[in-house]
Point group: C2
Chain length 157, copies 2
C-alpha cells in the first residue's frame, strides 16, 4: 500500500501546535483509563473513583489527615471532600477524630473495615492499570514516570 499522503506522514509542527497535540493525547488517554476505572469500581465494588481516591490517600497516612490536608493531597477544592467523607463515614469506612487543642479541625482515618475494603480494591485497581497500560514495558513506564515527575514540581510532593 503506497501512501501518497496519509496522517502518518505528518511532519512536526510548531512547538505550540505539538504541545497542544500532546495535551489532547494525554487528555484522551487519561479519559479512557478513568472511564474504565470508574466502571470497574462501580460494578465490582459499588463505589466511585473519588471515594477510592480519598481512601487511597488515607491508606498512605495511617495517622490520618485533616480535611484541608486531604484536599491538598488530592488537589481538589476544600469543600469537595466534605460530602465524600460524610458518605464514607456513614458507610463505616472511616472516622473523624477530634484534634486535641484545636476544636476547628478534625482528623480523618480509615477504620479497620475501611483498610480491609481498600486493600481489596487496591489489589484489583493495580491489576486493571496493569492491563490497560500493558503496552508500556516496566522500563518505558519507569522512564515516562520520571519525565512527568519532572514536568510537575520536579521532586515535588
Amino acid at each position: 500500500m503506497t501512501r501518497a499522503h496519509s496522517d502518518s506522514d505528518a511532519k512536526i509542527g510548531t512547538p505550540s501546535k505539538e504541545r497542544l497535540r500532546l495535551w489532547l493525547r494525554l487528555l484522551r488517554a487519561s479519559r479512557v483509563v478513568e472511564t474504565q476505572l470508574r466502571e470497574n469500581l462501580r460494578t465490582e465494588f459499588d463505589t466511585t473513583l473519588p471515594r477510592f481516591d480519598v481512601m487511597a490517600a488515607l491508606s498512605r497516612h495511617e495517622q490520618g489527615l485533616k480535611m484541608s490536608e486531604l484536599s491538598g493531597v488530592l488537589r481538589v477544592s476544600n469543600g469537595n471532600v466534605t460530602g465524600i467523607v460524610d458518605r464514607l463515614v456513614e458507610d463505616g469506612l472511616m472516622v473523624r477524630i477530634a484534634v486535641p487543642g484545636d476544636r476547628r479541625a478534625s482528623r480523618v482515618r480509615l477504620t479497620q473495615k475501611g483498610r480491609e475494603e481498600f486493600a481489596r480494591q487496591a489489589r484489583a485497581h493495580e491489576g486493571w492499570i496493569d492491563e490497560m497500560l500493558e503496552d508500556f514495558s516496566a522500563e518505558e513506564a519507569f522512564a515516562l514516570s520520571a519525565r512527568f515527575d519532572q514536568m510537575n514540581g520536579g521532586s515535588g510532593a
Copy 2:
C-alpha cells in the same frame, strides 16, 4: 549533601508497579493542567471546560454533529451533553437543526457568534497549553504524542 537512600535512587520495580506509578503521574499531570485551564476559562471567558470541549468538537465539524456523535467524540455519556448544549443554545453560541427524514435526531452547529467566540478562546487556550507544557520541546511533544496515539486505538479516531 550525600544521600544514603533517597527516592531518586529508586530502582525499577515490577511492570505492574511501574505502570501504576506511570498512571498516577499521568493523572497528576492532567489534573494540574485541567485545573489551570478551568480557572483560565472561568476568569477570562466566563465559561467552563465542558463548554469549551463541546465548542471545540463542533468547530472541527462545520456541518454539525448529532447529539450521539457529539457524546461519542467527547467520550462522555449520552445524557451529559444535553444540558451543556441547552445552555450553549440559550447563549446563542449554537443551534439545533432538525435532521430531514428523522424526527428523533437533531444536528448541533455553531452559530457565527459561536465560531467567533470559540476562535478567541482557542487562541488563548493554545497559549496556555504552550506555557504549561513549555519544558517539552516540539520534538519531544511530537514523539510522545505518537506514543500515546499508539497506546489509544493505534490510528483509531
